[in-house]
């Protein structure tokens, strides 16, 4: 009976945590679509959606309902299995990131200490990198399976963009990892919470800037939304998609945005750390909950900045995109890495 020797409570606890985090992410993503429309409207002197429910708060449900009610079209000449797989893959890859993000410190519940993190993998950042790289398969497969030249062009662009910017992102991260000495996100956050230690943004400002730009490119957000350039490629890789499949693609973009905001907050802005406040003063459970709130506020701020940038800057031209990625970001990231190395040596 070795099976029963498993810590069943731990499995239940993790399953509940997974359910909560996945549904919370989806709920936040739902309202991120609403926030996107509102932010866009406010930045353009418009009121934005305000008819469905008080202040238009039911608008995301109306949008979702609309997408579900639409006719589901699978083109005859598409590769059907891949066509269906594409949006699911995009969504799965987007959601998988949330497994290693520390959403808060541990809480005491029913005599058990529960970490508010699904899995404290000691290679958390590598895992995130792997999953984020998988995200491009959603775009690739979607664009390829549609059997449409515009979709294929968009998929090509998406793939080349993701590859170019992942390089700079990785090098920017290496500099950070040299200072932290750990790949576990939990350890990185706890280091930043330690007294006398500032947030990593203070040690890695250039690294953060590079990471932020690359994260924007990885999420396919304007000004890096070349894979879905409406006016050049009709609609990009999801042109042939309709109904909830299209919804999944659009939705996974928002989930991606939330996850990269969470990663940036954890890596550079102290994660669930409350600035200028010692969490040890509060009871453990309350401190953990306030910490989750602090992380959520940081995520919201990042999402606002993402949107603010989207509604300010037009899209890059393809050659500008490649120039920026290969000729500016990667050299800068390398310089940043060298400076960090020199700084660490000087400290020794």
């Amino acid at each position: 009976m070795t099976l029963l020797a498993l810590d069943w409570l731990l499995i239940i606890e993790k399953l509940v945590l997974i359910a909560i985090i996945v549904f919370a992410s989806l709920g936040i993503a739902l309202y991120t679509t609403f926030a996107e429309r509102k932010v866009a409207a406010v930045l353009q002197d418009r009121p934005g959606p305000e008819r469905a429910g008080p202040f238009g708060l039911f608008q995301p449900f109306a949008d979702g309902l609309k997408l579900i009610m639409k006719e589901e079209i699978i083109p005859n000449s598409s590769s059907k299995a891949l066509f269906v797989l594409g949006p699911g893959l995009a969504m799965t890859a987007a959601l998988m990131t949330c497994a290693v993000i520390p959403w808060g410190a541990s809480v005491q519940l029913f005599g058990r200490t529960i970490d508010l993190q699904i899995a404290d993998v000691n290679i958390g950042i590598l895992y995130i990198f792997g999953v984020v790289s998988l995200g491009v398969y959603g775009i690739m497969i979607g664009g390829w399976a549609s059997n449409n030249k515009f979709s294929l062009m968009a998929a090509l662009r998406g793939a080349s963009q993701a590859i170019s910017y992942e390089l700079a992102m990785g090098i920017a991260l290496i500099a950070l990892l040299m200072t932290t000495g750990s790949l576990s996100l939990k350890t990185i956050v706890e280091q930043q919470m330690a007294p006398g230690h500032l947030w990593n943004i203070a040690y890695q400002p250039l690294g953060f800037l590079l990471f932020f730009i690359c994260a924007m490119a990885e999420c396919n957000r304007t000004p890096f939304d070349l894979p879905e350039a409406e006016n050049e490629l009709n609609f990009g890789y999801h042109q042939e998609y309709s109904s909830m499949k299209l919804g999944f693609y659009l939705f996974s973009e928002y989930v991606n945005m939330i996850m990269s905001s969470a990663v940036m907050a954890s890596l550079y802005f102290g994660g669930y750390d409350i600035p200028f406040f010692n969490e040890a003063l509060l009871p453990q459970n309350i401190a953990a909950l306030v910490g989750v709130g602090a992380l959520l506020i940081k995520i919201v701020i990042f999402i606002f900045i993402f949107m603010w940038i989207r509604w300010t800057i037009p899209r890059f031209r393809y050659d500008q995109l490649m120039n920026l990625g290969w000729k500016s970001l990667i050299p800068l990231a390398l310089v940043n890495m060298l400076i960090t190395g020199a700084w660490i040596l000087a400290k020794l």
């Binding site: 406010v42 930045l43 002197d45 009121p47 603010w308 940038i309 300010t312 800057i313 500016s328």
Partner: protein
């Protein structure tokens, strides 16, 4: 070569400076501009609840006027139909019978008076042509309809409600948003 216009500008082909190549200063400046728009006044008029006022000279749907005692002013002289450049107006005249003096002001009146709102160009020439001040253009416009017949407005659509017996209907037909 002489320039064709005094407004031509020489295109600058200077290589970009470092600040320009970095994009960041320009991007931050742009973000400042968009952020300032958060606090700007929205010009939006939330339509069904709020309506924009028409100008005082707005020419909308026609009304057939009544005199001070509530009698129809129109005598079916046909001058409006003649003046109408779109040929939208048709009418049939009838003679006032004894006992109808409280309904019609003069001996002759319009038994049928129709304007095809799809033909009408809302020029207001009928208003100018009328010698009896019987037809006016109000400050409302024709609502949408499902068939063409619905756009042929008859007397029951256009004769203005009596101000004394039905002041609300009068205000509605007059169509000034200030009264709505």
């Amino acid at each position: 070569m002489e320039a064709l216009t005094s407004r031509s500008v020489q295109v600058s082909r200077k290589p970009m400076s470092l600040a320009e190549r970095l994009f960041l200063p320009a991007i931050l400046k742009g973000m400042g501009i968009t952020f300032s728009h958060i606090f700007k006044k929205q010009p939006t008029i939330r339509y069904p609840e709020q309506r924009r006022e028409f100008s005082p000279v707005f020419r909308g749907l026609h009304v057939l006027n009544r005199d001070e005692e509530g009698r129809e002013r129109c005598t079916a002289c046909g001058l409006c139909a003649v003046a109408c450049p779109a040929e939208a107006i048709t009418m049939e005249a009838a003679e006032r019978l004894p006992g109808e003096e409280h309904l019609y002001r003069e001996e002759k009146y319009a038994a049928k008076y129709e304007i095809n709102m799809l033909r009408c160009i809302f020029c207001g020439l009928c208003e100018e042509a009328c010698p009896k001040d019987a037809i006016y253009l109000s400050e409302t416009f024709a609502p949408a309809n499902y068939n063409r017949k619905g756009f042929i407005y008859g007397k029951d659509d256009m004769v203005i409600p009596n101000l004394k017996t039905d002041p609300e209907g009068f205000a509605k037909a007059k169509g000034s948003p200030r009264n709505n």
